[in-house]
Symmetry: C2
Subunit: 71 residues, 2 copies
DNA sequence: ATACAAGGTATGATATATCATACCTAAAAA
DNA sequence: TTTTTAGGTATGATATATCATACCTTGTAT
C-alpha cells in the first residue's frame, strides 16, 4: 500500500464516521480546536496527518484512532 | 487520553513488535529508509509521528498500522 | 432578493517531523 | 585489549503539517 492510498483511506474513514454522527466539518474542526483548512485536506487524503491530530479527531468523533486505519 | 500517552503507547508497541521479530533499531531504520535519530525518539514516545512514517515501519515489521494503536 | 450554512480553495506564517551527520556509552565478541 | 554492535544523544538543515485568515460556490432558508 502506498502512502497516498493510506492517506485516502484515513480521510474516507474520517468523513464516513463524521457524517454518520451528523457532524459538519466546521463543527469537528472547532471541537478539535483545529482549522478546517487543515481538516478538509485530511479528509481528502492530501495530508500526511500526525498521530496527535488523529487523536483529536477520534475523540470528537467518539471512536478509537484504530478505526481510521480500517479498510 | 493525552497526546503524550498516545505517543508512548505507539512507541512501546513498535518496540515490542520489533523485538518480537528480532530486529534491531538500525535494521528497521535502514529498511524503512529512515534515520535512527528519528526512529529512536518515536519508540520513546517523544515524537508526534506521521501516518506515512507509521506505514513504513508497519510494512517492515509486517504488521498492520492498527497494531501500533492497541493497548 | 438576501442572508446564511456547508464544503472547499489560496496564501503566508509558524511549528515541528524528518534528514544527515557526528559522537557517546555499555556490552559482547574477536 | 581491541573492535564491533546496539542503543542513544546533539545539532543544524530541510520539508511539510498546522495555523490563521480571506475568499469562493452552492444550496437552503428567511
Amino acid at each position: 500500500m502506498t502512502e497516498k492510498e493510506l492517506f485516502i483511506r484515513i480521510g474516507k474513514n474520517i468523513t464516513r464516521i463524521r457524517k454518520s454522527k451528523g457532524y459538519t466539518i466546521n463543527h469537528v474542526a472547532a471541537e478539535c480546536d483545529m482549522e478546517k483548512s487543515n481538516l478538509i485536506p485530511i479528509e481528502k487524503g492530501r495530508i500526511n496527518v500526525t498521530a496527535g491530530t488523529l487523536l483529536r479527531i477520534a475523540e470528537v468523533l467518539e471512536v478509537d484512532v484504530k478505526e481510521f486505519f480500517k479498510i
